[in-house]
């Protein structure tokens, strides 16, 4: 029982990352009709926002400490972050400690800008082009983005820990009457889940309750008609692209403490996020979110030892098995609309 509860938590947590990425992907696809293979790269850039903020905050000046030696036997160069000298070591260190939450604020304008540049500079030329061309150009862009990141940050993962206050884990088991340690879950992952829920809710609310959102939703359903109404839908779509990029970036920035960011993390998520979107049904926002959580949960359950004993290797392929079963049972995924991306 406790094991199952644990995997439910895991499923929610994994699912929230999948859902966030898939949500952005679907927004772009639904509004612009563009298959964006660079979406994983946006997620990765988000995570590197956290890395960058951490580096900026710990920007240091160098003093020579004659009492110590470095690995070559020369006097040790000691780096002291400017923040620590400005605000005192305690406050300075805690500001650096909070770099990931600070990066969230920093990330939103950056991602909006990245999204804007991408859409205006490149993607808009591909609205009328075949999906294959869109795939090729966005895939090329994804490679370029990740190679640039690799060039400046290296290929190794870069640790970006969560603030001290969010470290460690929370014992649910005790609350529910289990033994201590039966159901523990890391605090930051719970924060991630809550944060995702808020973002997803915000995106839905934005589309549901604002005029802007209504127009975009109408445009997703029937672009031409909305265009005929004399509404400048293109401008709104540009903004939507920025929002989708921001959602991916936020998913990335919050993910940084969970797994140290590296330059290829976007590609690792790319295939998976497409599977999520398609299982959810092309063009369906609720479908993407639902599929994200569903696949996250199933992936977690399949990694339980009891399940693996029964079906060896099932955790390797569960996502794909589920995708195949759902697509065969439901032609357009869970909630897909007819005629979207079926040609």
């Amino acid at each position: 029982m406790d094991a199952i509860l644990l995997q439910i938590l895991n499923g929610l947590d994994k699912g929230s990352a999948y859902a966030l990425i898939a949500l952005g992907l679907t927004l772009i696809f639904g509004t612009l009709g563009v298959v964006n293979f660079a979406h994983g790269a946006l997620f990765m850039i988000g995570a590197f926002c956290a890395v960058t903020v951490q580096r900026l905050l710990s920007f240091s000046f160098v003093t020579i400490d004659e009492t110590k030696t470095d690995f070559l036997g020369n006097p040790m160069k000691v780096k002291t972050p400017y923040l620590e000298s400005w605000f005192g070591p305690e406050l300075g260190a805690s500001i650096i400690d909070w770099s990931v939450p600070i990066a969230i604020l920093f990330c939103i304008p950056i991602m909006l800008l990245v999204g804007y540049i991408m859409e205006r500079g490149l993607i808009k030329h591909f609205y009328k082009r075949p999906h294959a061309d869109q795939i090729l150009v966005t895939f090329g862009l994804a490679i370029v983005l990740q190679e640039l990141i690799k060039h400046y940050y290296g290929a190794n993962p870069i640790p970006t820990p969560a603030p001290e206050a969010f470290k460690g884990s929370f014992d649910f088991g005790v609350l529910m009457g289990f033994d201590p340690n039966a159901i523990i879950y890391p605090v930051w992952r719970l924060v991630y889940f809550g944060f995702s829920a808020v973002i997803i809710a915000a995106v839905f609310a934005f589309l549901q309750f604002t005029t802007f959102g209504m127009v975009v939703r109408a445009g997703m359903a029937d672009r031409e008609t909305v265009g005929l109404l004399g509404i400048n839908i293109d401008k709104r779509f540009t903004i939507m692209f920025g929002i989708a990029a921001a959602v991916a970036g936020l998913a990335g920035v919050m993910y940084a403490p969970i797994n140290s960011p590296n330059y290829h993390m976007g590609m690792d998520f790319l295939v998976l996020s497409f599977v999520v979107v398609v299982v959810g049904g092309m063009g369906s926002l609720p479908g993407a979110v639902l599929a994200g959580f569903l696949l996250g949960a199933l992936e977690s359950f399949s990694s339980m030892n009891e399940v693996k004993a029964l079906l060896p290797g099932i955790d390797q392929i569960i996502i794909y098995v589920v995708a195949i079963v759902i697509l065969l049972a439901r032609p357009r995924g869970l909630m897909g609309r007819k005629g979207v991306m079926e040609e």
């Binding site: 090729l136 490679i143 370029v144 092309m282 991306m341």
Partner: protein, 396 residues
């Protein structure tokens, strides 16, 4: 002869001549010159050019003609390689049974995958193929290790049964005694040219595969495949069952992939699971789109383009750059090298990514269409052409 139209015959002859003379054509620079770095005329890379050419030609029969975008074709190539290596392990190092089995097994596997995937179309089809292929890769890497030798890759060991192996049989892959790796080197002045048995076997098979693909393109079946791409609704209401057409194209292209896999293993008897990964499937998609999907020659061009970058640009390192630009004043030299090192050596991915973007943005239709456009412009400059505007045949 060959039962083909004149322009197709011309194309086939060009390809055959190019394949024959590739050892010269790909080694244009003297071995000692600084440009020798760009020579691609060594057996392994030439073999890769033609083998991946076969893979892409086959993929184009599916994607270029029917429009079904498979993201799982590398699985068939991988299965072909595994079958071939198993033949080496069980029978002997002769490549004939290996290639034969690889085509058969890949055909059967693609029949199963195609049968399942073709129940859906569009991106749903793509994801189904992707899922099935990625499953194959992951299982091959882990649970199926007894069959695939997992991470290490399937290879031939001296204690394998090899029941047809005589005491004098070659221990390397061969065609009835003709070893794949044997080669002649021809040195003329500063130039050096390699002629390898393995390359010529692959090249002959590639030319044959290309010939077959021309025949398919020009056949009623090829017309039906293009009709599938154009309008399935009309197909159905014209009394034509689209499913078996698409499935046949899928299986044929799967067999091409198996052939390529079998040949890869024949040139180098090791089959690694990465051959089946989605990135490998993506690579053949990129080759085809980059060269020009639906054109006869495009896939070969695209395959050559990507393999060239992978093998030539990745080997240009800093010391090579320093040698090239050593004549510049130091500051300038370092500046130039600082810029260039982003794009070569470990930066070759960046170059490839940029080229993808540039080509697809400025040459929609791929390299072949780009070439055609340039050719047309040159011709138009010469004299006004008599090309009637409607005289365009779609699948050239």
């Amino acid at each position: 002869m060959f039962n083909m139209e004149k322009r197709d015959k011309k194309l086939l002859i060009i390809i055959a001549v190019l394949a024959l003379l590739a050892p010269f054509a790909l080694n244009p620079f003297p071995t000692d010159s600084a440009m020798a770095q760009f020579n691609a005329g060594y057996p392994d890379l030439m073999q890769r050019f033609v083998i991946f050419g076969i893979f892409a030609i086959g993929f184009n029969i599916l994607f270029g003609l029917t429009g079904y975008l498979s993201f799982g074709h590398a699985a068939f190539l991988g299965v072909g390689s595994y079958s071939a290596v198993w033949m080496f392990k069980l029978l002997s190092m002769n490549v004939v049974p290996a290639i034969f089995l690889s085509v058969i097994v890949a055909g059967l596997f693609s029949l199963v995958v195609g049968y399942i995937s073709l129940r859906r179309s569009g991106i749903y089809f793509s994801i189904l193929t992707l899922a099935l292929a990625e499953m194959s890769f992951r299982l091959a890497y882990s649970v199926l290790t007894p069959i695939t030798n997992g991470e290490t890759g399937l290879q031939v060991y001296t204690n394998d049964p090899q029941i047809l192996m005589g005491p004098d049989s070659p221990t390397v892959t061969h065609l009835f005694g003709l070893e794949m790796r044997s080669s002649y080197t021809l040195d003329i002045a500063g130039w050096s040219f390699d002629f390898a048995v393995g390359y010529y076997l692959s090249a002959i098979i590639m030319v044959a595969a290309f010939y077959l693909s021309i025949r398919i393109f020009r056949s009623p079946f090829g017309l039906m495949l293009r009709a599938v791409k154009s309008n399935q609704q009309r197909m159905n209401y014209t009394g034509l069952n689209t499913r078996p057409y698409a499935l046949a194209a899928f299986v044929i292209s799967g067999m091409y992939a198996g052939l390529a896999g079998g040949l890869l293993a024949s040139m180098d008897p090791l089959a690694g699971a990465e051959r089946m990964q989605w990135t490998a499937s993506g690579e053949v998609v990129l080759m085809t789109i980059l060269g020009g999907a639906g054109t006869l020659i495009g896939p070969i061009v695209g395959a050559g383009f990507i393999k060239y970058f992978e093998n030539i640009f990745s080997k240009i390192n800093n010391s090579v750059l320093h040698e090239w630009f050593g004549f510049l004043p130091d500051g300038l030299e370092n500046g130039v090298i600082w810029v260039l090192e982003h794009f070569v050596g470990s930066g070759w991915h960046l170059t490839l990514g940029l080229l993808f973007m540039l080509i697809v943005t400025f040459l929609p239709g791929g390299l072949v269409e780009g070439g055609q456009r340039i050719a047309k412009r040159l011709r138009r400059k010469g004299a006004d052409d008599d090309d009637a505007p409607g005289n365009k045949t779609p699948a050239e």
